[in-house]
């Protein structure tokens, strides 16, 4: 349906997109993932010409939309966009947001557009908000209305530009479930997202973008479980893990705790698990404390959704020793607490480093 060949885009001297060739078929759900600033959003915005490509071609059903003669507004009606910042028309009610396009652009009657809007609002679960104004809605509700507004134009494809990035963690799932519903209904979609789990289970195909090109593409299984290329591997790893370096006994516990909490937010951890994680880190650091002046310590948190387990790895330099050795501890209070919330504790001497791996108990 959409065929993109050698697409490139530069802003001044900055080459954001280098050479992108990809085809999107009807009914496909494509996730576009990758580090920030690698042109994912620009790619999406080039497809519907919000940013005009510098080179290459975009063919929709065989028609080159970069042809100066192409009726761009007409083309755009067929591929609507959902933005990160919702962009609901703030002067219009939810109802009018949904009917403006169909009435003015598709020439629908007010009644038809209205009844269609009501159906769509029901679909996204917001029928009772028809008379509300955008500033009276929560972020999640706004994004669901924005999706309904796209649907109102009967597009062939919907482009999602980080639809959940501006949302509170608590509202992400309501938006994702609406998108999942559309995917099930066979809607063609291209989604730029940082929600890896979502990308994995909603899409048919995943494009991993890095440095202005499509670096690796494949099924969700191929990209998330068996990434072939180096950058993809690193990226997939980094999203699911978090590392903190401690080089002195005067480390900033507050800052570290804040980062751990952010990590927990991203992984949508339950309160209890979050508590246990903080407890383990704190107790371990208490135990490590006497050695911190001499050793460097790395704390790595990693969450495996597949196993639903949370793993914490402490890796320290210095002579070989297991800090959790009962003979070295002044009292066992901390250790007792650690043991009570972990499933397993392993000590290894690896690469001249002491590595303690703790796996948290499941819920």
């Amino acid at each position: 349906m959409i065929k993109i060949d050698h697409l490139s885009k530069s802003f001044g001297n900055l080459e954001v997109l280098k050479d992108i060739t990809v085809e999107i078929k009807a009914g496909e759900v494509i996730s576009i993932i990758g580090p920030s600033g690698t042109g994912k959003s620009t790619f999406l915005r080039c497809i519907n010409l919000l940013d005009r490509p510098s080179g290459g071609s975009i063919r929709i059903d065989g028609v080159d939309i970069l042809d100066p003669k192409a009726d761009v507004p007409k083309v755009r009606q067929k591929m609507n966009m959902v933005f990160q910042s919702f962009n609901l028309f703030s002067h219009l009610s939810v109802m009018d947001n949904l009917t403006l396009g169909p009435i003015k652009l598709l020439g629908m009657s007010k009644e038809d557009a209205g009844s269609k809007a009501v159906d769509l609002l029901k679909l996204v679960g917001l029928a009772e908000k028809a008379e509300s104004y955008p500033d009276e809605l929560s972020g999640g509700q706004k994004q669901r209305v924005a999706i309904a507004r796209c649907m109102a134009m009967d597009p062939k494809i919907i482009l999602f530009d980080e639809p959940t990035s501006a949302l509170d963690p608590t509202m992400v799932s309501e938006v994702l479930s609406v998108i999942r519903r559309l995917a099930k209904a066979g809607m063609t979609m291209a989604i730029v997202t940082h929600e890896m789990d979502f990308a994995r289970d909603v899409s048919n195909r995943v494009l991993y973008m890095d440095d202005g090109i499509i670096y690796e593409e494949g099924t969700p299984e191929q990209i998330f479980v068996h990434p072939q290329k180096e950058k993809t591997k690193t990226f997939i790893n980094r999203v699911r893990s978090f590392t903190y370096h401690i080089a002195s006994p005067d480390y900033d516990l507050y800052a570290m705790n804040a980062e751990i909490e952010t990590f927990c937010d991203k992984q949508i951890l339950a309160v209890k698990q979050r508590y246990n994680l903080l407890l383990i880190v704190e107790e371990m650091l208490q135990i490590y404390n006497p050695f911190l002046s001499k050793a460097l310590l790395d704390i790595n948190l990693a969450y495996s959704e597949k196993k639903e387990s949370l793993e914490v790895v402490f890796e320290s330099t210095g002579e070989a020793m297991n800090v959790l050795d009962k003979n070295l501890l002044s009292d066992e209070l901390g250790l007792t607490l650690i043991q009570s919330v972990t499933e397993s504790i392993d000590y290894q001497r690896l690469n001249n480093k002491n590595r303690v791996t703790l796996i948290l108990k499941k819920q």
């Binding site: 507050y254 309160v271 407890l279 704190e282 208490q286 901390g334 007792t336 607490l337 009570s340």
Partner: protein, 112 residues
């Protein structure tokens, strides 16, 4: 430091808010020793608003209990619930300290 005290006839009620972790523990310990130095001997610590406790927090309670005992006083804990309660149970502190479901019941216990 979020700590509040209110004086009852038989004991001083100490209400703690937030975390009792490695960062805040030294402050609490200092506060308790000051109170003892001022002549308080019986304490009821209200845990209703504590949402996190680590071994560092437990150690403060332990140290305070020892000091209180030395002056023939009492340290009663009240309103220990949720994740905090789990930590108390795991560490066995439940058996070390008399705990109460409410400040009122702790108060009546402190009479005896």
């Amino acid at each position: 430091m979020p700590i509040q005290t209110s004086k009852e006839t038989t004991a001083l009620i100490v209400t703690i808010t937030g975390k009792m972790d490695a960062l805040t523990a030294p402050e609490y310990e200092k506060k308790f020793s000051e109170l003892i130095a001022e002549g308080e001997i019986s304490f009821i610590v209200d845990f209703e608003q504590v949402d996190y406790i680590s071994s560092a927090g437990l150690r403060v309670l332990l140290a305070t209990a020892k000091r209180v005992k030395a002056v023939n006083g009492k340290l009663l804990l009240a309103n220990i619930t949720g994740v905090v309660k789990d930590v108390f149970e795991i560490s066995g502190f439940c058996t070390l300290f008399p705990t109460h479901d409410s400040v009122a019941s702790a108060l009546s216990a402190s009479l005896g």
